[in-house]
Point group: C2
Amino acid sequence: MPKEAPRIAELDDRKVKILVAVIRNYLETGEPVGSRTISKYTDLKLSSATIRNEMSDLEEMGYIFQPHTSSGRIPTDKGYRFYVDNLMSEKEREIQEKEELIIEKADKLEEVLKQAAKLLAANTNYTALVSTPETHRNKLKFLQLSKVEKDSVLAVIVVEGNIIKNKMIHTEEEIDEDTILKLNLLLNTHLNGLSLEEINLGLITLLKERAGIHTEIVSSVIDAVADAIRADEDLEIYTSGATNIFKYPELTDSGKATDIINTFENKEELEKIVNTSLSENNAGRKEMQVYIGKEMSSPAMQDCSVVTATYELGDGMRGTIGIVGPKRMDYEKAMGTMKSLMNQLDEIYNKK
Amino acid sequence: MPKEAPRIAELDDRKVKILVAVIRNYLETGEPVGSRTISKYTDLKLSSATIRNEMSDLEEMGYIFQPHTSSGRIPTDKGYRFYVDNLMSEKEREIQEKEELIIEKADKLEEVLKQAAKLLAANTNYTALVSTPETHRNKLKFLQLSKVEKDSVLAVIVVEGNIIKNKMIHTEEEIDEDTILKLNLLLNTHLNGLSLEEINLGLITLLKERAGIHTEIVSSVIDAVADAIRADEDLEIYTSGATNIFKYPELTDSGKATDIINTFENKEELEKIVNTSLSENNAGRKEMQVYIGKEMSSPAMQDCSVVTATYELGDGMRGTIGIVGPKRMDYEKAMGTMKSLMNQLDEIYNKK
DNA sequence: ATTAGCACTCGACCGAGCTGAGTGCTAACG
DNA sequence: CGTTAGCACTCAGCTCGGTCGAGTGCTAAT
């Protein structure tokens, strides 16, 4: 959704310098920045009056604006966008080298992700957001039914990437060991190696026909298994450091913070962000996305920016990691820390 | 931790009536209540002056206090305690009948609990808190190792209550099917029916000795299984409606809300609450506990009250459900809704 | 024992006035 | 012609004093 960055040509060198000065300053202080400040802050030797003229131009072009008449300027979304797209290479690299996040290798992916979120939040002072990977393109690796009790059968399903699913299936009547054995064979020969999304309703009915034995139980067990396989809607999203947003006054006032935290509690909104990030990444091949203010659909987020990245675990499972902060967040730092984290995840899961 | 309720005798009838009036009024309005208000609000025909005298007494006894000189009174923790312990039977019953929460039966316990939290929060306008049950006293019902790949074995463990645990075990060298079969037999004969806490280190070493085959792999596999069994520290706590606390001005100011929400993010503090509730319930046989302000250890919670209850799923698994709100929360309603919810959980899991 | 009355306290609210940061415009300057 | 100095103007934020009203404590009368 981020529009193509405006051609640099639109702004002459001096305007760019002034714009950067405004933005940098605002990022630091969080307060509107005036012409006088800039005439000192920058190396270009110009009086405040001149700066004022230039700023007036910049305002007309939509890069900055005044919150009220005769106060300093602050960047617009367009201003930030320009900054993010064109003007932040050196500083970022610098930070990235310094950052040293250390993820402890944990047994469960879930734990690692939670930890990653925590680290990210702690290191940036923004809110971190991590989604579990989508698995529906993954291939079935192992499937087994076991009789646990007279009337219950446990289905264990392992897909590539060692994601394990369980389903306890209650049966009306007792089901004998022999049938289970046959079912195991049947299911394995037909489903093994298929990706989860390939296992659809058509295939299942076909399977039932071939089953040979046509009792109710068998059919219902197969249904249950199919259910479990398809139930990959368990996309979880963890957040950490939600209260960090209270550190930024412009988000604290008038219930904005409440709205934002509510959004964090509400999966659907988060999913949108995660998903656009995933698809964007898929198309664009950029490793990180930045969404600024209105570039996000969610109304509660209009005063925020989000930096997202897509992580990829060897077996093609992809998930999203995000940092949510105020629009005046330190993009360099956020992106630097993010990159550093991605590198680590890479090391853990892909180098092996 | 809640102290024994003061004997009613300490307060004569009239004082009780006045105290109740103060509390009820404050619960509704959230503002200090004065003598004049009460002289109207109650049926006892007394002038404000008399009320003032009585209130002065009540203040001396520690049931109410003035936020600043010459403003109305608000209840102290002691006041609330008295109210909760002695004075709220009729209204509660009434509400409880009206409440109709409907939990959809879901496959996974986890989902049901999350849903319960959501319902609770939505219905009360407070924050809900649900812990997954502890399982360490549960008995092992089913254990199975399966070879998934050359170098990995999957352990599936089912305990009473149909809690399923998985552990993927990577082995250095390939392990043959035969060994797995033997291991399955070994583990099952020795561990089946034991409660998780009975499976300790001693037992495991004993088991290894009896194993007969003494290769490294076997030993490491057994260790991994034991690990998985003991790893019941995955006590999860879900919260819902965290931002509801913003609805109560006395919690919103001066970063209190932030502290509270932070506490919600932080498991350890929550665990404390959950655990005291569990043990309290164990001892006292009361179905619900109320903790008011300083009765909780967590400093961030000193301005809150919590209503907790312990749910019990057939197989002896117990967890805690809580409602967190301001001290001036509507205890009747909270307890009523809670009770109603517990009844439903009971129906789902215990009536079968 | 209860009540009416009175003086007093104190937070909340409101408007006035001041200040300082910042602007836009104009005229002068190199 | 771009740049600058100067000036009038705007406006948010702060402080100050005054008023208001709710509420109390105390005393004297019932």
